[in-house]
């Protein structure tokens, strides 16, 4: 086992040629007398830093390269930033840097607040629905004009089976129901769709006919009537969805 060293003074400025020769090898000093192995090495080459083993002294200039022996294959190279607090990766010119921020607080939730304004579509952008270079977060997809802003399946007695954005269902009488929204529409100009599941009525079963009687920003009043007699009557279920701007 042999080593060769070159000693530099503290504060000494290295020449370009010297920089290219600086190599720090971290070796495995095994106690069993076996041959040592290159475990990792850091190479300082102008301009750039390369972390890998002795076979990977190359990479992208002006970059911190982390490579393994077969750097361009599937071999994995990790850049690990470890700690319990917040971690930053900063880029951009001095004085106007942008930060990617990684936190592992609150039960392992990772956030990227530096990207919020840039890559993730805002509610307004999702409502506009025109951007083709933003990504949509699951919590905002429903703001797109094509998404249903409210829906529900309820019995005509007002008991809801399932729904979204419905605060209550008002049973006003046989075949007369008001659906109230948790978050209202921005105006009364939106599209409520309604249908009935099942036949209407006693004593004779008829085909149901559903009608939107009136609509406001915060609610819609719907009728279910017999298509034969026109009388308001309960069906089995009411199926409802509404589209528009909130």
């Amino acid at each position: 086992m042999s080593y060769s060293f070159q000693t530099f003074s503290v504060g000494q400025v290295l020449t370009s040629s010297q920089m290219n020769q600086v190599e720090v090898n971290i070796r495995d000093h095994r106690l069993d007398g076996g041959s040592s192995l290159d475990m990792a090495a850091m190479f300082f080459a102008s301009p750039g830093v390369y972390i890998g083993d002795s076979t990977t002294k190359s990479g992208t200039a002006n970059a911190l390269n982390v490579r393994r022996a077969a750097a361009d294959s599937a071999t994995i190279a990790h850049l690990v930033i470890e700690g319990s607090a917040t971690h930053y990766i900063s880029f951009g010119p001095s004085g106007s840097r942008q930060n990617m921020v990684f936190t592992n607080d609150s039960g392992g939730i990772y956030s990227f607040p530096g990207f919020t304004g840039d890559c993730i579509a805002t509610q307004a952008e999702q409502e506009a629905g025109t951007s083709v270079n933003k990504v949509v977060a699951p919590g905002r997809q429903q703001y797109h004009p094509s998404a249903a802003k409210a829906w529900c399946m309820a019995q005509w007695d007002g008991n809801s089976a399932a729904g979204y954005n419905i605060s209550s269902v008002t049973d006003n009488g046989a075949g007369n129901m008001t659906i109230n929204y948790t978050t209202s529409f921005s105006s009364a100009s939106y599209v409520p769709l309604l249908t009935a599941n099942g036949y209407v009525g006693t004593p004779n079963a008829h085909q149901p006919m559903t009608i939107i009687n009136s609509q406001a920003a915060g609610s819609v009043n719907a009728y279910c009537a017999s298509s034969t007699t026109g009388a308001l009557q309960d069906s089995t279920y009411m199926m409802f969805a509404a589209f528009g701007d909130q």
Binding site: S167, S168, A174, D234
Partner: protein, 228 residues
């Protein structure tokens, strides 16, 4: 879930069924064990010493957070769970196996819905779901009682009479055919028989048991034999 009842200007009774999807929760645990939550970054200005927090009024304390360590505040972001309608976490509710961590009691929730969905200026009552009749035969005869729904028997009788009138329509149509056939055949005996069959159908809404019925169930049973 409790219900909200109120009498409309037209005299009808509306029953508001609060939908649980609108109830505020701080998180939802799925059947798989995954926890869905929405986190809010707590501003350092909102965080104050516990001793100071204790002295605040309820309104003042609403936007403050006590008992957080200073080093936690200043060295890393502090988050809290935001309360939202439970269907915001999943965009639907209910979901089988999912359990919500509610941010309000059922009574608080129903009171909030009453404030929001009962038309302004209308008096209302919050009642147990068990007081809402399951039988909707006489739905349009419901009236608000004292913390319950009652039947207006006068209205019930009118509804029942209308039901009987609807029931007799096909029977009358059948008799119309019969009497036409008998007339064309010049069968006076058959014409008289059929004419006699009209009478009980025409009198059905005046069936005596209708006026003496004291309950909706008794009324439902008050059906003349010609319509059974």
């Amino acid at each position: 879930m409790k219900k909200i009842i109120h009498t409309r200007a037209d005299g009808g009774l509306s029953v508001i069924h609060p939908v649980e999807g609108a109830r505020f929760a701080t998180c939802v645990t799925l059947q798989s064990g995954s926890v869905l939550e929405i986190l809010r970054l707590v501003k350092p200005a909102e965080i104050i010493e516990p001793a100071v927090f204790e002295k605040l009024t309820e309104d003042e304390a609403k936007f403050r957070k006590p008992a957080l360590l200073k080093e936690a505040v200043y060295s890393k972001p502090v988050y809290e769970r935001e309360a939202h309608p439970v269907d915001v976490f999943l965009r639907r509710w209910p979901v089988e196996g999912a359990v919500a961590n509610w941010a309000e009691t059922e009574d608080e929730f129903v009171a909030r819905i009453a404030f929001k969905d009962v038309p302004q200026g209308i008096e209302y009552q919050i009642v147990d779901a068990s007081t809402i009749p399951a039988d909707r035969t006489f739905r349009d005869a419901w009236e608000a009682g004292n913390k319950c729904v009652e039947h207006n028997m006068v209205k019930c009788r009118e509804i029942h009479k209308n039901n009987l009138r609807a029931l007799r329509v096909p029977k009358l149509a059948a008799l119309d055919v019969e009497i036409l056939k008998a007339s064309r055949a010049k069968d006076a005996v058959r014409v008289a028989e059929v004419e006699a069959m009209y009478r009980p159908l025409l009198d059905a809404p005046d069936f005596p048991a209708i006026s003496t019925a004291r309950t909706p169930d008794e009324l439902k049973a008050a059906v003349p034999g010609c319509l059974k």
